[in-house]
Amino acid sequence: MTPRQRRMIFVGLILLAVSAAAGFLLTALNSNVQYNIVPSDVSAGKAPKGRTFRLGGMVEQGSVKREPGNLQIQFVITDFAHEVTVRYTGVLPDLFREGQGVVVRGKLVYSTDLEKGQWLMLADEVLAKHDENYMPPNVAESLKKTHDVRRMQETSTSPAPVITP
């Protein structure tokens, strides 16, 4: 074996060892690396109990309720399978709106007097997510129109409502 081959193996071993170490580390930490969990995790009992964590999902259409005269707001976060109601007091980011992805940080409590589900998140931070799609307003408008038309056609031809995320 020439010295050069020995050095080549040395470099290969460094890369292999470090990748293996990183692989094991990330597999072990997998759930902790997630920035947020989703409402389905909450329903499955995977949410941390009595501890602050982050919950992510879509703000359900028509679910935002504001208290007149103060900054209190209530809305429902959905991942199109399960829902969690969120209560928050404070200023919301610009991108917060119905149908938008959000990540809220807070504590979960069990409640029976909610319109949707049994879980209430008392949030102390609301962050808005945005996606990787960039388009001018008129393109978004025409996309929305064709989407609506398609949905209308779908509902008129198929008897059973199909829920698609």
Partner: protein, 244 residues
């Protein structure tokens, strides 16, 4: 295949002359492309349907972030070549990469924070993408510090090369962090093979800016490489001849 040109290029005098010649051919086109792309990004392309004008920061943020990964990969590969083939010029290339690389990383983090505050509602979040990019900055800074802590340039080269190779594992983690885990950071926008998720009316300045950043990095790398060669070859005869 004839490799003579490659071995010739690896000799410091040829590389020095090559870098000096190449530099203006990269620098001036890249600066004019940046000017055009910057103008188009601010005044020509339409606003985004949701973020309105705030999205225009991607025209700096995305190229800076891409370059921060690309430069690190080049640095680590050069370090590996230097380690295996004992090529001093490869170590010089790696050493010249670290400063521009760290500047691109800082630029990506700062523009991201400026964008994050109005859009997400936070300057910073311990999101997988953001955290791994911060680790990348620390790798660059660690590389600089390690290099500076040796007096002997050969030992500095070898130690820094090992660090660069160890840090290479972070690059795919940064790239795929938005795919592997739930994150606050959005997914990738530009795609080479598939369909990009940016409207065709907005994509041109972004691509031009990306190319301009790559060429600008090339010009800076030529400068850095010349500086490295001057320092490493300061006792060499060809250099004294050239200076006289």
């Amino acid at each position: 295949m004839n490799w003579v040109w490659f071995h010739k290029l690896a000799s410091p005098p040829t590389a020095y002359a090559f870098a000096r010649t190449l530099r203006p051919w990269l620098l001036w086109p890249s600066l004019s492309m940046m000017l055009w792309a910057g103008y188009a990004a601010l005044f020509v392309v339409p606003p985004d349907y949701q973020q309105l004008d705030a999205y225009r920061i991607i025209f700096v943020h995305v190229p800076a972030a891409s370059l921060s990964l690309m430069v690190y990969s080049i640095m680590a590969i050069a370090a590996g070549i230097g380690l295996i083939w004992r090529m001093k010029l490869a170590h010089a290339v790696a050493a010249a990469c670290v400063l521009p690389g760290s500047v691109f990383t800082v630029l990506a983090l700062v523009t991201g924070a400026i964008w994050g505050k109005p859009m997400w509602g936070a300057w910073w979040a311990w999101d997988p993408r953001l955290t791994t990019e911060l680790i990348l900055l620390f790798l660059y800074l660690g590389y600089m510090a390690l290099r500076a802590s040796f007096d002997d340039i050969g030992r500095a080269d070898r130690a820094a090369a090992v660090l660069a190779l160890v840090g290479l594992v972070n690059i795919p983690i940064i790239k795929y962090s938005v795919v592997w885990w739930n994150s606050l950071h959005q997914g990738k926008t530009l795609s080479i093979w598939g369909k990009s998720s940016i409207d065709p009316s907005m994509v041109m300045p972004l691509l031009v800016m990306l190319l301009a950043f790559v060429m600008f990095f090339g010009a800076i790398l030529c400068d850095g490489l010349c500086a490295q060669i001057l320092r490493r070859e300061r006792h060499a005869q060809w250099l004294t001849k050239q200076v006289q």
